[in-house]
Structures are given as C-alpha cells and as structure tokens.
Symmetry: C2
C-alpha cells in the first residue's frame, strides 16, 4: 500500500513496455487487462474468482453506478471496493462513453452533458467536475476525465470540435481533482478520431496539463483495426515514457498484442465476459463457438493443458449443452475461461518483454491461433 501513485517502467522491447503501477489498493503489473465490472460486478464471477483468473485491477462504470445504486449511496456504504468486495485496485471511467451510447442524449454544451437515464428516465447532468466528484465518492484508485467520444467515421470538423471540448474538460477535471494526496490518480484522455494531426495535438495539450496517466479514447468505435493501430502508434510516440498508457474499450486478443507492440500498458473490454455469456470461448488455439452443433458429441475439454480448471475439467459437449440450455453455469465457466485466457495472454506478453523476446511471443501466439482449434490428439 502506498500514499503515492507510481508508474515504474521496468523494461522495453521495441515499443512494448513492461512496467508496474502502484496504487493505494495494490500493485498492477503491466501490460494489464482490466475486466469490466459494469454494475459493481464482473458479470458471472464472484470477486475472488475474478482475482483467481490473475486480474489485479477491474474497471467500474461511473455511468451505471451513478444511476444505480448511486455514487452517494456507495460512498455511505464505504466506497466501491468495499461495496463489491474487491480489495484490489479499481479504475473508473468517467461516464462519458455510456452517456453517448446508452442514454437518450438531451444536450451537450460547454458546461456539461445532460441526459435521460436509461433506467428510469430521470434527467441527469454530468459535468467534468461532477464526473470527478462521482469517481471520488466511489473511491477509485484511477479516475478518468470526462470527455466527448464520437463514433467513427465522423466529419473532421466534428472530431476537432469534440477533441477541443474534451481538452477544456481535461483542464477542468484536473482542477477539480483532489485525490493525489491519497495516492489516487487522474488520467487524461486523448481524442481526435482517426486524424493523426488532431490526435497529436490532443496528446501534447494533455501532457502540458499534466496527468498521472494517459488514455486513448474514441477508438474501437467502428474503424478498421489498421486505422486503430496506426492511431495508437501515433499517439504513443507523443506520450511521455514515464506515464502509463491506457487504450480504452479494447479489445480482441489480437488487438491486445498489437497495441502492446505499439506501446500500450492497459486495456479494458467486455469481450471476454460478453462473448462468454453467448457461448464463445477464447483459447490458445483461437476462438471456439460452443453453440455450434459440431461440439455436441466432443468429449475433449477446451484445453487439456490450460492453467484454469474451467477450460480443463468440462467437455466441449457439456459446454455446448449449457450454452444451448442457456444455463447460468455456461456463462460462469466461459467467462472464467475467457478472463483466464486474457490474463494468461497478458502474463505471456509481460514475460516475453522482460526477456526481450516480445516479437517471438507475438509471432508464436498468433500462429497458434490460426490453427483455429485444439490440435488433434
């Protein structure tokens, strides 16, 4: 435990970075994947099960939690860590992304965004200052500035307007934030769509304001992977080496490897849990769609040599059955398999970077995926 937020860069291998983040609730080895705990729970897993997959930090969604059960309620109950029985680090987003994607957007102006709750229709105003206040009430180890996130493709003028608004909100967020004394961190968010010039300008302006870490927002919102990765590489070059870099809402195993190759340290994504609930397993040999009838008589496990029991102790036929029967245990087991695989992948990348063999790891890992299935026994 510490009263100072720290990022230590331990080793680089090309642009890939091996590091660690020290927070008031523990240390996070990077590159790190953060499971998403939208409504104060990573869907389908008890917190100790999330930790057992290897996860050291989870993400909480400000938008969902401010609507239900409410940030003040969680603060009265001792904060988000205690509320969800997760004593390890938590990063909270600012709510901006969900305001755009989930709520009926009412009004966006210089001051704030005002929206209608998707739960009960209540009108809510979220300003940069309120987003910081909510995250402080939740007790986040890492808070995010409020930003405006556009879908891509978008007009350059619109991208520039949103980027500049996000910068002004970044300044207000920094001013409103008062967590440094407690070792809490605030991250700024680089915007600018798929425009390299705007992205560079956004990143430099954020660095001038000065944040504990820098996120890249507004990607994986509809653009091709190549555009995303080019933007990531562009932005990473501008960001300071001594601060963590977080690519928001990304992504597939391939996205993770390719973004680490371009200098990213942190990720979050609903993919492992959401796809798990729909019968999809991520494995060393590529994705497996267990709803497919070809698994109905397959007595093999997903991966007999997996570190985690969920991938080892149940046949594909049984996982197929649970998926078809829409049983809770299917969601539990496949979410566990997927989060475990994501953590195994991150651990593999960390180990490879540490010994300067990241490129080899990347090549071998991707070659194994294209087998498309577990090798014949």
């Amino acid at each position: 435990m510490t009263d100072k937020f720290l990022f230590r860069l331990i080793k680089t291998d090309g642009a890939a970075r091996r590091g660690e983040i020290v927070t008031p609730h523990g240390t996070v080895q990077t590159p790190a994947f953060m499971p998403v705990g939208t409504q104060a729970t990573v869907k389908g897993l008890a917190p100790e099960a999330v930790h057992a997959t290897g996860a050291e930090i989870v993400l909480g969604n400000t938008y969902h939690l401010m609507l239900r059960p409410g940030a003040e309620r969680i603060a009265e109950l001792g904060g988000l860590h205690k509320f969800m029985n997760w004593p390890h680090p938590i990063l909270t987003d600012s709510g901006g992304f969900q305001v755009m994607s989930l709520s009926e957007l009412r009004k966006l102006d210089e001051n704030a965004v005002t929206f209608r709750s998707h739960l009960d229709g209540a009108m809510i105003t979220l300003s940069p200052e309120r987003a910081i206040e909510v995250q402080t009430l939740l007790g986040a180890d890492i808070s995010m500035q409020l930003d405006e996130c556009l879908k891509l493709p978008a007009e350059r003028g619109e991208i520039e307007r949103a980027m500049r608004l996000s910068l002004r909100w970044a300044e207000r967020s920094k001013k409103a934030f008062d967590g440094s004394a407690k070792g809490r961190a605030l991250f700024g968010i680089v915007q600018g769509g798929d425009d390299a010039g705007l992205r560079g300008e956004s990143a430099r302006a954020l660095v001038d304001i000065g944040f504990d870490g820098y996120a890249i927002g507004g990607l994986a919102v509809g653009e091709p992977q190549a555009v995303m990765l080019a933007t990531v590489a562009e932005v990473a070059r501008v960001l300071p080496a001594d601060r963590p870099r977080y690519l928001m809402g990304v992504g597939t195993p391939d996205d993770l490897i390719e973004a680490v190759a371009r200098g990213i340290d942190m990720f979050d994504c609903v993919l492992p849990t959401r796809n798990g609930r729909h019968g999809m397993a991520f494995t060393r040999f590529g994705p497996v769609n267990l709803a497919n009838a070809r698994h109905a008589t397959d007595s093999r496990p997903l991966d007999a040599e997996a570190a985690h029991a969920a991938a080892r102790d149940y046949s594909r036929a049984y996982l197929h059955h649970l998926t078809k029967a829409n049983e809770i245990l299917g969601a539990i087991l496949l979410s566990t398999v997927n989060l475990s695989y994501y953590q195994e992948l991150m651990g593999g990348m960390r180990a490879a970077i540490a010994v300067g063999r990241f490129d080899e790891f990347r090549r071998q890992t991707k070659a194994q995926w294209v087998q498309g299935d577990i090798p014949a026994l």
Copy 2:
C-alpha cells in the same frame, strides 16, 4: 466405493432417523437434502461449489436430460457424473412428474405416457421400462420408478386409479431394473394422494415388491402443509425401518424439519436455487427478501456468523443492488447462501438426532426463524 447399495440406520430419536446411504459414488449422511440439477447443472453453481455447500448427492431430471442432450448422448460421453463433472452420488427422478407438469400430455395408457417435448414438439413415449433404461444410461446411483403424479385436490377415484397404475408400473420397473450388481439402487414411489387408506395400501404393496428405498410422491402439489405431514407420518409408519425414505420435491426449511420429525431421510427441492435467483435468502433468522427497498442502505451481511462466505462477505445493500440490477452474481451468491443454509440445517438435524436432542433443535431453530431478521447488533 462399494458394489453394494446400503442404508445404515445409525440412531433414532422419536420418529427422526440418523443414517447413511452407501452408493458406488460415495456415502450420503441422512437426513440429506439433494440440490436439484435439472439440466445437468445445479443452477448458478459449479459442481465444486455445490459440494462446498455440504451437499453429498444431487438430483438429475430424467425428463429434461432425455430431451436435451439425450440419455444416449450422455451415456456415450461417459455418463452423467462425468458429463456434469460431479463425481459424487446422483439420484435421478423417473421423468413422470415433469411429463405431467411441463409437457403437453398426449396420452396416458396402461403401457406408457406419450407426450410432446416442450423443447421441440417431438412426440416421446415414456414407459416404466424406458424410464429405467434412461436412468441406467445416465448412470444414476439411485433410480426412481415411473409413476403417475396427480395435482391435489383430486377425486378419490382418480387418485386410486393413478395409485394402482403406479403400482403396476412399480412391478414393471423392478423387473426392468438390472443395476443391483453394480451397487445401484431402485426406489419405489408411494402414491395415493391425501387418502390415508390408499397411501397405506400403496406403501404395503411396494414393500411386497421390494425396493432399495421408498419415496413418497404426489405431495407438495397444492395441499396444505398439515395434510402433507399427516400423510408423511401415515406412510412412514408402514415403511420398513431398514430402507431410506425420500419425500420428493419438498420443501421449505420448516417442511424439512417437520418431515424429518416424521421419519423422512431424503429430500430434494428447487426452492433454494429458484428463490435465490429471485432475490430471496434463507437464513438462520428466517427468509429475507433482498428485493425489498429497506435493504438498499443496509451495510450488514445476511449473517455475520455464517459458515459460508457468501452470507458473510457481502452487504445486504450489495445483494439488493445485484437483485435489482438482475446480475448473475446475485443468483450465484443467493443460491450459494440458500444451499449452504439448507445443508447447515440438515447437518444440525443430523447432529441433534445423534445425541437424542432433535426436539430441542427443532424448537430452537423454529424460534430463531420467527425473529424474521438478524438480531440488532
């Protein structure tokens, strides 16, 4: 492990019995509660989590499993124990109850019941012989005869007709059953509705045929608890002391205590898992409906002194939140809480009978329930 099914009566205390059942997959301490694994999974819990609640045996539903994934399929995959990764004892019902309650009933005659699958509309014939065959394919440690189960109230003539048909099906089931050499057991099912005379006749006729154990079916199907318990007491007096007695589909914690007081050894019920999925917790202090708004700000756990973490490590406010947000973790935690409480209750009864203090345990346990809530701190 054994190749002979055994029931040992260890101690009696009034009509209450402390015993153990030895099966090919392990020993079950009685009185025992069997969680229901309808579709080859106890809803919401991985098998090791079910076992961790204290459960030593689970029930599998022949009706559901024969429709999906199919008994022959499960047999090819190595049997139900292996399929669902539960290496401990399994009892399967005969499918009769679900045919009556879930399917569109097409035809019941002397030979069999023919019904339409609720899943895909296929026409299926279930005879006493096929019910035995299916359960043998599943590999059940304890199989049940096919019977006809009526809803109560019903006409006496109708009850008698169904009881006599069930007796003839009992004889055919016994003849078709070939598991004894492997230590597998077959139970007969006493029918006769709420008519003491018919119940007594059914029980005596089954004992004449000779089964490894005797179930009481056709109760908890709409009749008052007093009627159920009077019938249980009546039937238990007729049944031999050296065979286990199983009250099917029952019940609430109060039902369990009162039926044990009348000589019952085994139970199954969906209540702990089904109610758990709907926000209801069973505790030492009575049931708690976590959907109720009064829990929204309650930082106390369900039971700070519970043996199981699920009741101890999460606030009522959090469980309320999970219930309102319809999160999978709510179902997981409350199903775990409830199954743990049911097992704790059975363990308490076993310990009390062993030392001849069952009546005291029964009185104290029920007195604690009527507090209706955890005592003020």
